[in-house]
């Protein structure tokens, strides 16, 4: 596990990141919906695809934006295109980052406020089998420098054995055990593409 320091967030990095995120979601749309079928309503891939398409269009419209405008555009696209549970959560995450980014561009600090936003918006805690179970451990990896694809995969995998207590999967109770959480998976893609975009030195 490579111990690497994270890059500061810039407009270029963010744009590259969103391009790669688009590709990853596009590639895995069916898989995300499949994950959402046994424990949800089978639309997470479609929802996210609408979202990243909106992000692409939103960013294309911006002329020489600063980081705040960039993050805000991402947030608004996600909020207005995704719908469902994941839309407000991803949207809030980027909105919180936009609010904070004039103060700091350190990924760990921005992801920390994003995670707080997600928790506040959705009320989920760690262990509830949601995207929080990827965001929370990953944010922690920044402090000990263990942020990496391995850690991301581990976090995503960890949702498999959990019993859902938030979102649609919670209606299944115990029967939700044994399935990966789709929102955890898409959050995994988000962090992986951050790495691929050069988010670590």
């Amino acid at each position: 596990m490579a111990k690497e320091e994270a890059e500061m967030l810039t407009v270029e990095l963010t744009k590259k990141w969103m391009e790669l995120f688009y590709d990853e979601i596009d590639k895995n749309k069916a898989y995300l919906s499949e994950l959402d079928t046994p424990i949800g309503d089978g639309d997470h891939g479609n929802n996210m695809k609408r979202g990243v398409t909106g992000v692409k269009e939103g960013l294309a419209k911006l002329k020489e934006p600063d980081l705040k405008a960039t993050l805000q555009a991402i947030a608004m696209a996600l909020i207005s295109k995704v719908g469902g549970a994941s839309g407000p959560l991803y949207g809030t995450a980027f909105l919180e980052m936009a609010k904070k980014c004039n103060e700091t561009q350190k990924p760990e600090e921005l992801f920390t406020v994003a995670l707080e936003g997600i928790k506040k918006r959705g009320g989920a805690k760690e262990g509830d089998k949601t995207m929080v179970d990827v965001w929370a451990p990953i944010v922690k990896t920044f402090s000990d420098g263990s942020f990496s694809k391995e850690e991301i995969k581990k976090a995503v995998e960890s949702t498999k054995d959990m019993e859902a207590r938030k979102g649609r999967a919670s209606y299944l109770g115990e029967r939700s055990i044994g399935h990966l959480d789709p929102g955890a998976m898409s959050s995994g893609y988000l962090f992986e593409t951050f790495i691929d975009a050069g988010g670590t030195k």
């Binding site: 919906s33 079928t37 309503d41 089978g42 639309d43 479609n46 929802n47 609408r50 608004m76 909020i79 207005s80 295109k81 995704v82 719908g83 469902g84 549970a85 994941s86 839309g87 407000p88 959560l89 949207g91 809030t92 918006r121 959705g122 207590r165 938030k166 979102g167 649609r168 919670s170 209606y171 299944l172 029967r175």
Partner: protein, 334 residues
């Protein structure tokens, strides 16, 4: 697995085309809010000086919610993608479109997505200085309530809520009064469903779950959320027996009390079956010496093409509520 067979064009266009078809078929009641999938009353005079009522949610529950827009019921409804909550910007536009300075009341079904998106819209309206209050409907007793989970789902009882607050708003109730009405009524509304088949979301192309040719499932949600038990198909009488037993545990049915009953088809269940089911409901209630003070049978909160039926029992502890249910409305769906 059966192939999807639907009267549609492209699965991606289902919602905009459906909203367009509805609004253009009923211009006397409905108008589209520009650049949205939201529908507002065309009779603007009917909203003057009154609190606006906005509801909505994922599409696939037709006539809910847009079919309940009209004088005496909803002021506007926001139509999300199929089985997907609408986005806050659209809800926000609906709030703006109906606000008359008296505030806007939101009727939200209890799903994480709906709750979060409507809350974000509320935040946006706050910034505008529009007063917004809301009720989160969670009438489906198939799911245990718990502080530690999302809790019960909002299903057909939501239509009862639309009717109550719609009628009260039309009679001039204030935002606070509507909130109180909604809060008081909510715990008295309970619903339980039985499914014979699952819904097929057009973009998915296959049913949300599979039931054998002779199987039914109790407690299924309106997005094909799993229920609490599968069984061989039973007579209508026995299905009714199971649902009423469970509803009775919740509501403690009492011949001294008054009830409203809503029998709701899930989309592919013919009225023939709904009326037979209603016959058995009325028989079962009569055994308990109960005769509903209000009853309605039909497709109100559907689940696309699901075959199945839900039973809602609403205890009328306040005599105003019966008046609200009987209050005349001008809508496509009620």
């Amino acid at each position: 697995m059966k192939q999807m067979k639907k009267i549609i064009n492209s699965p991606q266009d289902v919602v905009p085309e459906m909203v367009d078809g509805l609004v253009r078929s009923y211009p006397e009641y409905l108008e589209r809010i520009p650049d949205t999938e939201a529908v507002v009353r065309s009779d603007k005079a009917s909203m003057k000086g009154k609190v606006g009522i906005v509801s909505g949610g994922g599409s696939g529950h037709e006539p809910a919610h847009a079919g309940f827009v009209g004088k005496g019921m909803l002021s506007a409804a926001v139509c999300g993608q199929v089985f997907t909550s609408p986005t806050p910007d659209q809800i926000y536009k609906a709030i703006q479109a109906v606000d008359q300075g008296k505030g806007v009341f939101l009727v939200i079904k209890n799903y994480s997505g709906d709750v979060m998106n409507f809350e974000m819209a509320k935040d946006m309206a706050d910034v505008d200085g529009i007063k917004v209050k809301s009720i989160i409907v969670d009438d489906d007793i198939a799911v245990e309530n718990s502080l530690y989970t999302q809790g019960k789902r909002g299903v057909a009882g939501t239509v009862i809520m639309h009717k109550l607050v719609g009628a009260a708003a039309d009679q001039g109730a204030s935002l606070d009064e509507l909130e109180e009405l909604a809060k008081n009524a909510l715990p008295h509304i309970s619903t339980l469903a039985v499914a014979l088949s699952a819904a097929t979301v057009p973009e998915v192309g296959k049913p949300g779950f599979e039931l054998a040719d002779d199987e039914i499932e109790y407690g299924v949600g309106i997005h094909s959320e799993p229920g609490y038990r599968r069984e061989k198909i039973k007579t209508s009488k026995k299905l009714v027996g199971e649902l009423i037993t469970k509803l009775d545990e919740q509501q403690h049915l009492d011949p001294e009390k008054q009830y409203a009953v809503l029998v709701n088809g899930m989309g592919a269940t013919p009225l023939m079956e709904q009326y037979i089911f209603s016959h058995d409901v009325l028989d079962k209630l009569a055994e308990k010496k109960i005769k509903p003070a209000f009853m309605k049978v039909g497709n109100y909160m559907t689940s696309i093409d699901m075959a199945g039926i839900s039973l809602t029992i609403f205890e009328l502890t306040d005599k105003k509520w019966l008046e609200y249910l009987n209050y005349s409305v001008e809508t496509v769906g009620w």
